[in-house]
Structure formats: C-alpha cells, structure tokens
C-alpha cells in the first residue's frame, strides 16, 4: 500500500466517523450538561487563518446550495484559496 492509498483510507474513515458522530442519538440530558464542569468548547482558534505556518484544522460543513457536505481534507494535494466572507 502506498502513501496516497493510506491517506485516502484515513481521510475516508475519519469523515465517516464524523458523519456517524453527527447522527448519533444524544446520550446526555440538558440537566446532565448543567451538572458538570464547563470545559473549553466551541470553535477553532481564529489565529489559524491568519498565521503563516498554521496547520489547517479539520472542517466539514454543508454547502450553502444544499448539495451535500464538503470536507476540507478532500483538497489535499492542491493549493487552496479559502475565502471566509458573508453576502451581507
């Protein structure tokens, strides 16, 4: 198995994990949430996007046109111009 095969398998497996994760039933109730200690959670460090040398985090989001989910990891091997914007 060469390196590219390895990468394809790994990427595919992890993407499957993410989708399965998203579809899991919730195991804890809101009360259970409230009863536990708050931890860091929520977002990527925004400095990643504006710091040369930063590793781009895994990110999988739906397309705005409803045509499915897109994984940034699918772009490996290409240069990418990432534009974060709003239409307002």
């Amino acid at each position: 198995m060469d390196v590219s095969q390895c990468l394809r398998i790994l990427t595919g497996a992890l993407a499957s994990c993410a989708l399965a994760f998203a579809g899991q039933e919730q195991t804890g109730s809101p009360e259970a949430v409230a009863a536990t200690k708050p931890e860091k959670f929520g977002a990527i460090d925004p400095q990643v996007w504006v710091t040369t040398g930063s590793v781009v985090p895994a990110l999988e989001l739906p397309r705005v046109d409803g045509s499915g989910v897109f994984d940034l990891a699918s772009l490996h091997g290409k240069k990418v111009l990432l534009i974060q914007f709003a239409s307002w």
């Binding site: 998203a22 949430v33 409230a34 929520g42 996007w49 504006v50 895994a58 705005v64 490996h76 914007f85």
Partner: protein, 426 residues
C-alpha cells in the same frame, strides 16, 4: 469575492488551485442566491455557528498542498506579485515535523475541542453533537428541540459568550423551521445581545443582530442586492434560488435613506372592539424586538437609536390564509414622545407557491423610545417609562373546512429599556 473568482478562473480550470468559500450567515439561502448571481462555481460552506472562530470577515487564506497556511490576507491588487508568486512556489515535499495538515486527515473532531481537559466528558459531546446535527440538518433537524435545550443548558452552565451565541443560533434555526415556537426569535436575539455584551469586538455576532435590527444601527444595507440579483438571474433565463425565509424589511433597510417620517394617521380598524376574538387560536402572534447594538457592554440611560419590532402571524391547526380578501393589519399606536412612522401596519399577503397559504406573514418596523434623562431618578419625577405597547391584529383566516372568518387578536410589544444607573455612573 467576485474579484478573486475572476482572477483565478484559469488557475482553477488547470486543476492546481481550488477555491472554497465559508460564510458565517444564519441562512444559507441568501449566500446561495448571491453565488448564483455572481456565477461562483466553487463550493461555499455554511457556518452559522461561527465554528471557524473568526470575529470579522472577509478573511482570505492561501493554503498549501499539505494543509498548511502559507499566504495570509492576499490583496487582489497584488495578484501578480503576491498571489502568483505564492501559487507558483515549490510544492512542499513533506509534512512539517510534528504537524498534521488536512493532507493526513482530520484530527478527530479536534476542531471543536482545543483543550485536553475536555476530552472524554459526555456533556461536551452532547453540545458538540447538537451543533453537528443542527449544521447538517438545519431548521428541519428531527432532534432540534433537544438540541436547542442542550445548547441553552450548556450556555447557562458555562456563561461564556460563545456558547450563548450558539444557543441563539439554534433558537433562530428552530424559528425558521416546522418546530418554531412563538418565543424563539426573541430568545435568540436576547442570547445574541448577551453574547455581544460580553465580547463587543465580535463583529460577526454584531452583524447577526443588526441583520434584523433598526436601520440606524446598520453599517450598510445587508441584503439590498437581492432584488437586483433576482432580476438579473431571470434576465439570464435562469430560475433564481428561492429564499426559504423571506427577507424582512430590516434586512434591506439602508441607514442612509431618509428617516421615515410619521405619516398621516390611518383610521383604526376596530376602535370599539366589536370584532370577534380569535378564541380558537387559529393564528399565533409572535413578536420580537431587536435593539440597537450600541447597548452592548455599556451602561446607558438613553437607548441609542431605535428598535426594530418584528410581528409574525402563523396559522395553526390547519387554518389557512384567505387569498382573496384584504391582508391582515396590525394596529399599534405609540405613546406620546415615542416615534413610529405609522400606527397601522399592513402585512404582505400570501405569496404564490406551495404552502403559501399556511406560511407565516410578517411585518417589521422601527420604534424609537423617548430620551431618558441621565442620572438617578429625581424625587417627584414621573414614573418609569412603560415600555409595553398595546395593540391588535385583524385578519381573515379560513378554517380547515373552508369557512373563512374575520378575527381580532390583541398584541403586546415590549421594548426593553436600559436599567437606571446606580449613583456614580454616567
């Protein structure tokens, strides 16, 4: 965005460059329409919760073949010298030591969990799962009620601005779907205001409020391009993408337009209260008030600018709008000293298309409160301002058996006012 699209077309066609957009908007449909209008042919991803962590957009980033950022904030005017030099640069020959860019796959959901301490705690995963489901499923997510509950409980527990914003996003998502509750929009707005008060530098959160807020709080018109886009798309012979959630008046308002002057008073529709009340709950009345974001993080006695009032009428229990009678109206006079362009507001009638006769009808308008004197209330001063406006709506609505009736329903709109300052403030 259009500039970059135009300049990079050949590079993208060569297969060596990919462009990806991410938009931090509550609704994906507005950006999808924009992309159709501009002819964007690259993926644009929807990030309503702001998971990328940015506080302001646009942010443009060049990423190399290994998933490492190596061009930051390129400028289109420096396309030749800056962008093309980067693009033509050598391909990295390996993953940097100790790093794993997207080339080698995702760190398992690590983008949501920046700290070691959060691993393995089920409650964190509950909130993460809720956000994942809502992003993927949108307003129709089957678990949306429990997901909203989870995110609100999490926000209450942590008290963090980011979590409050997430809870607000979830509430507004539910408001735009089949599980909408009357209070959802107001609760969302309150959560966003609380988040912004804790972090006034978060401009994406500020914009989320301003989208539905008063005209004078807008840095520019948010979606005034929509009518022009629809016209031009149709002119090309295409069908414009439909907006699942219609634009509100606030979303197209421009602060540079003249302040709406009070118009001549229209006749009150039911001054003697003779119309039959909607005792059967055929229509649910929903109100939300969005304040000027200038209140965020400040103690002020005088509300800056105006507030935007949103009133929605939602048919319930199989009731439908009548499409051949006059549209519903809202009668909402304001007390002396307040300013509103009119007391009588007419709802737009049902639009064409499937489900139009059961879709909510909405109006929104500005209301300005009187100036409240600075400093502590003086002895013998008049009582505190009553911030509740009372009025009613009248509408023609059809029962499931086809019988149409004319009904009235009372409405109260609350304009929250800042708390009086304590001594030593101001």
């Amino acid at each position: 965005m259009p500039v970059w699209h135009e300049k990079t077309k050949e590079l993208v066609a060569s297969g060596r460059l990919a462009i990806v957009g991410i938009t931090q908007e509550q609704h994906p449909d507005r950006c999808a329409l924009y992309a159709q209008w501009q002819g964007f042919d690259f993926p644009i991803l929807w990030d309503p919760f702001g998971l990328t962590g940015l506080s302001v957009v646009p942010v443009i980033t060049g990423i190399n073949e290994l998933g490492v950022v190596d061009l930051v904030r390129p400028h289109p005017r420096k396309f030749q010298k800056q962008f093309l030099d980067w693009f033509k640069g050598p391909v990295p020959d390996g993953v940097p030591a100790g790093r794993s860019g997207f080339l080698v796959g995702r760190p398992e959901l690590g983008s949501f969990v920046p700290s070691e301490e959060s691993k393995g705690l089920v409650h964190v995963n509950d909130a993460r799962r809720a956000i994942s489901r809502l992003v993927l499923g949108g307003p129709s997510t089957p678990t949306i009620d429990s997901d909203v509950g989870t995110l609100e409980a999490w926000a209450k527990r942590t008290g963090r601005a980011k979590d409050r914003f997430h809870a607000g996003v979830a509430r507004r998502l539910r408001y735009d779907g089949p599980s909408a509750r009357a209070e959802d929009f107001q609760v969302a707005a309150d959560a966003w205001h609380a988040a912004l008060a804790a972090d006034p530098n978060q401009y994406i959160w500020r914009r989320r409020i301003q989208q539905w807020g008063p005209r004078l709080d807008k840095p520019y018109a948010f979606y005034d391009w929509v009518p022009k886009a629809i016209e031009q798309i149709r002119g090309r012979g295409e069908a414009p993408r439909r907006l699942a959630v219609p634009l509100s008046g606030s979303e197209v308002a421009n602060k540079n337009q003249a302040v709406p002057a009070p118009v001549g008073e229209a006749a009150e529709p039911d001054p003697k209260g003779l119309l039959a009340r909607d005792s059967g709950g055929l229509v649910q009345v929903e109100t939300a008030t969005l304040l000027h974001t200038g209140i965020a993080g400040r103690k002020m006695r005088t509300p800056p600018g105006s507030s935007q009032v949103h009133v929605t009428l939602r048919p319930r229990g199989g009731a439908k709008w009548s499409n051949d009678t006059e549209p519903p109206v809202l009668w909402l006079p304001v007390p002396k000293g307040w300013v509103a362009a009119r007391s009588l507001h007419t709802f737009p009638g049902p639009t064409a298309g499937d489900g139009a006769l059961t879709a909510p009808l909405r109006v929104d308008f500005e209301v300005s409160t009187p100036t409240i004197p600075l400093g502590p209330p003086k002895e013998g001063a008049p009582p505190a301002l009553d911030s509740t406006l009372s009025g009613y709506v009248t509408y023609s609505i059809c029962l499931p058996d086809g019988t149409c009736v004319f009904r009235r329903q009372d409405v109260e709109v609350t304009i929250p006012l800042p708390e009086p300052p304590s001594f030593g403030d101001d």
